[in-house]
Symmetry: C2
């Protein structure tokens, strides 16, 4: 474990402690994309703590925060943080949320940590060194056909789609539903990507194309280091501007891309 | 808290202790409806422990177990138990599962307990006495329009549908997707019904009609005692043979039934 990973896991646990201490007490400060997409005082407080610690330990590094945006600088390194993935669950008192911290360099994450404070469970990965949950090495599932696969979908901003986007999205939803074992919709990307890394599901697909890669990076490197394949709909390597991200156990990747791309 | 509720909450916690002790060690004993619907040695061991304790404390009562079926007897009381809701998550090492225990009398549950061992979080309710999570009283959400509502769907056995059922199911899926804030698919009924009780989602609908009421009863009384409305598609009172169960916060119930029933 490098110094950076040790720093990031400790930081995620410190952030998780704030989330548990403030659980049930959060106040909504503002709505974002729509009235159920919110930012609370706890998101801000936690993000500020994380940013403070990064600045103290890595003063040259850039920081991109879910709530406060990005800092400027010359460094090749950017920390990407989401103080609460699952704010909507958090404010409802549902213990289904995480802290997510990643370090990005040269168009890809090189380190990722996802911590589920209510479970005291931590997932982490570094580029080329494998992925782990509470020290146990993770590996994607071995299922190789679509009809036995569980696919978790992301439908962020589904209520904001243009009519033509809505039609394509619905046709894709129908097609995936008809050709796989089960579809799942959790509304918690970190949970999905960590579960793919553990072999619980075979794939993830951003159905609406509204999920930003930067909001998924910690989970992406964890899934990748457990053996997942990650591309856009064109099957090409992921950059931060990729939309409609597809993440699978690798074995179903081409079949899944074919299925989606068969839909006009 | 009656003696029966105290007994049931202690029993659920004892069962949860087995699940956590055996976590990561479960072995699949047999597949059920299909190859991903499984029963493990831990389901059986836990169910046997629960049944033993019920027989010891309530020798006259009947018992209906998810894995071992029902016992006979003359009593008006039937304990309905599911040792692991979420066995598929459990065997994948994903901490998203619960123990569910209910007591049924006169065509309805009169007591329900759902325990999430990995969170050490317990939900419980008795008829006419409200619903609670870790002693905190629960209340359904106050959202009253569909376009702001989050609806969790159940798609049990979606891969086993006849062609005509599949078409209706797909049309309903599309329609709900198009007319609500978000749809969710968790594959964990207890989580959904407890979260409705907490106000996290506005509704639940058994999209495929394959989910048995008896598998939902503990969650049903918890949701109901928190203010939820529960009917079949015809809007009528629930009996154990109802299919396509609809559970909402009450405020969206009629609008949701209208929406579903508008689909031919």
């Amino acid at each position: 474990m490098t110094k950076e990973l040790k720093f990031a896991t400790n930081l995620a646990k410190d952030a998780g402690k704030i989330l548990m201490d403030e659980f049930g007490k959060a106040k909504i400060l503002k709505t974002k994309a729509d009235k159920r997409d919110v930012c609370t005082n706890v998101d801000l407080k936690t993000e500020q703590m994380i940013i403070g610690k990064i600045k103290e330990n890595y003063p040259d590094h850039k920081i991109y925060g879910e709530e406060t945006g990005k800092t400027n600088g010359e460094s090749d390194y950017t920390w990407i943080i989401d103080p609460i993935d699952g704010t909507r669950y958090y404010i409802s008192g549902i213990k289904f949320f995480s802290v997510s911290i990643a370090l990005w360099k040269d168009n890809e994450p090189i380190l990722g940590v996802v911590y589920f404070p209510a479970l005291d469970e931590i997932y982490y990965a570094e580029k080329g060194k494998g992925a782990f949950c509470d020290k146990k090495k993770l590996k994607v599932s071995s299922i190789s056909n679509l009809k036995d696969s569980i696919i978790a979908l992301d439908i962020a901003c589904s209520n904001k789609l243009e009519l033509s986007e809505k039609k394509t999205t619905t046709r894709r939803l129908e097609t995936i539903f008809a050709n796989t074992y089960r579809i799942r919709l959790f509304g918690l990307g970190t949970f999905v990507l960590c579960s793919i890394a553990k072999g619980g599901f075979e794939g993830y697909f951003d159905l609406t194309g509204k999920e930003k890669v930067l909001d998924l990076v910690a989970g992406i490197i964890i899934a990748k280091e457990a053996g997942a394949k990650i591309t856009g709909l064109d099957g090409k390597y992921l950059g931060k501007n990729t939309s409609h991200v597809v993440i699978t156990n690798g074995k179903i990747h081409n079949k899944f891309l074919e299925l989606i791309n068969s839909i006009s």
